[in-house]
């Protein structure tokens, strides 16, 4: 017992010290530096654009877990879900030449891509699913990006308490050929837990970037001043904006 206490004491000393350092501003700068280094390295290595692996039908997980918010408990959403979202609109706004307001019908009429990919949660688990929808680049092409546009911000219908879920990415990921606005999972309309009726697929990054229940895409030149300024709900709570690690 005594040796165990010494070990626990030593552990607590290290973890306590690290916890203190973790709260300093300079360590935050170090963390940001490492995040930029990882992003730069991933962009530098491999053929361009680097593509996420696509799997075969046999690899599809029998059940695709929902995580984070898995339902939207409002009468409006419930009514929409029951009737197939006839009134749902995806707005494209901000730094674009032609703001859009797309119905599901219009989104389904665009050229479609189907891909079977691995979804990696920041917690550590993975699931494989088949996603169908237009490329985000197709939609952004219709809207026409203004030269100042640097980031795409994704607005969502779900929230944690009063804080709305949102996400963002740079144009490298927004225009990537595997980045989709998905409306189907495994050949069926998206289930509620996976973000019905529309969710983002941004295959080279972790699960929390794949915003669900999409209502709008905003093109901006800076993430400052949007919600907490971190570029996403989880980013505002300390998670990395570049979630490719």
């Amino acid at each position: 017992m005594k040796r165990r206490n010494v070990l626990a004491g030593l552990g607590a000393l290290i973890t306590g010290g690290c916890t203190k350092i973790g709260q300093t501003e300079w360590f935050g700068d170090v963390v940001d530096g490492a995040e930029k280094l990882s992003r730069g390295a991933h962009r530098m290595l491999g053929a361009r654009p680097t593509m996420a692996r696509e799997f075969s039908v046999a690899d599809i997980s029998p059940y695709f877990r929902g995580n984070g918010n898995t339902e939207i408990d409002t009468d409006t959403y419930r009514a929409q879900l029951a009737s197939g979202f006839p009134d749902w609109r995806l707005e494209v706004r901000g730094l674009v030449d032609r703001p859009l307001s797309l119905s599901l019908e219009q989104i389904r009429a665009l050229p479609q891509r189907t891909q079977i990919t691995r979804h990696d949660c920041v917690e550590g688990w993975s699931a494989i699913g088949q996603w169908t929808g237009p490329r985000l680049s197709t939609i952004l092409g219709q809207a026409g990006l203004k030269p100042q546009a640097k980031f795409a911000v994704f607005r969502c219908a779900d929230s944690f308490g009063k804080a709305p879920y949102y996400e963002s990415c740079d144009l490298d990921d927004a225009l990537h050929p595997q980045t989709l606005i998905a409306h189907q999972l495994n050949g069926e309309p998206l289930p509620e837990r996976n973000g019905a009726p529309l969710r983002l697929r941004i295959e080279r990054q972790l699960g929390y970037k794949h915003a669900k229940y999409l209502t709008a895409i905003e093109l901006v030149d800076s993430l400052d001043g949007i919600e907490g300024g971190g570029g996403g709900y989880w980013e505002d709570r300390g998670y990395q904006w570049y979630a490719g690690v």
Partner: protein, 224 residues
């Protein structure tokens, strides 16, 4: 001539710091999803081959559950750990450390010589017959430096979706992201086992001199 080159000593202590922080922040990350799987995917407990315990705050960085903060520590020190390992490997190849002190000659590795070394260890006699290290010591260091530490880097990279897109062969090397995650976990504990054994053996064999030599460098002729 110094017993330990300056590059070896700097790497040794930087590596200890990095591995300790990586291990303890890794325990915090493990608490986020305490099941391990084989293959590409897995998320349901019944698919798991192993269920991990919840690690207590005194063993984790930071000392409370925070996946975000633990990942920050893990990623920063993963860079320090990998780059310092790479530099050490290059330096030790160039300055002959590996050839001179780890590889030895072919006849050193006869079964009878290995058997004799095992018997010496069982008598707690750790003095090398010749050179700096005895056979079991060379084998242990080689396994850690050439197999376990590089495995941690590679399995760690394989868990990154951005790296998998850049270097798809990583996923094939380990048979899937979840397999890489399982191997990452197993090798982390193998490194802890090495650490415990290493510290016990130093304590049993002139601990102050060995510790001092790894700091100040020591003198080679004293140990010959």
């Amino acid at each position: 001539m110094k017993r330990h080159a300056i590059s070896t000593r700097i790497w040794h202590w930087l590596n200890l710091l990095s591995v300790a922080i990586l291990f303890m922040s890794g325990l915090n990350i493990s608490n986020a999803h305490r099941h391990l799987y084989w293959g590409q995917a897995g998320f349901q407990p019944h698919e798991a081959w192993f269920h991990v315990i919840r690690f207590p705050g005194w063993a984790t960085i930071p000392n409370y559950y925070s996946l975000a903060a633990a990942r920050d520590w893990h990623v920063v020190f993963a860079w320090i750990f990998s780059l310092s390992l790479l530099l050490f490997l290059i330096t030790a190849l160039l300055n002959g450390h590996f050839r001179r002190d780890l590889a030895g000659r072919r006849e050193d590795w006869r079964p009878s010589a290995i058997g004799a070394d095992v018997r010496k260890h069982l008598r707690l006699d750790f003095a090398p017959t010749e050179g700096k290290y005895n056979l079991l010591q060379k084998a242990a260091y080689a396994v850690v430096i050439f197999i376990l530490l590089p495995l941690m880097v590679l399995t760690g990279l394989t868990m990154s979706p951005g790296m998998d897109a850049a270097w798809p062969f990583l996923v094939d090397l380990f048979g899937g992201r979840q397999s890489a995650r399982s191997i990452h976990f197993i090798v982390a504990w193998a490194l802890l086992a090495f650490f415990v054994l290493h510290v016990v053996l130093v304590l049993l064999n002139k601990p102050l001199k060995n510790l001092g030599d790894m700091i100040g460098g020591g003198r080679l002729d004293e140990t010959a």
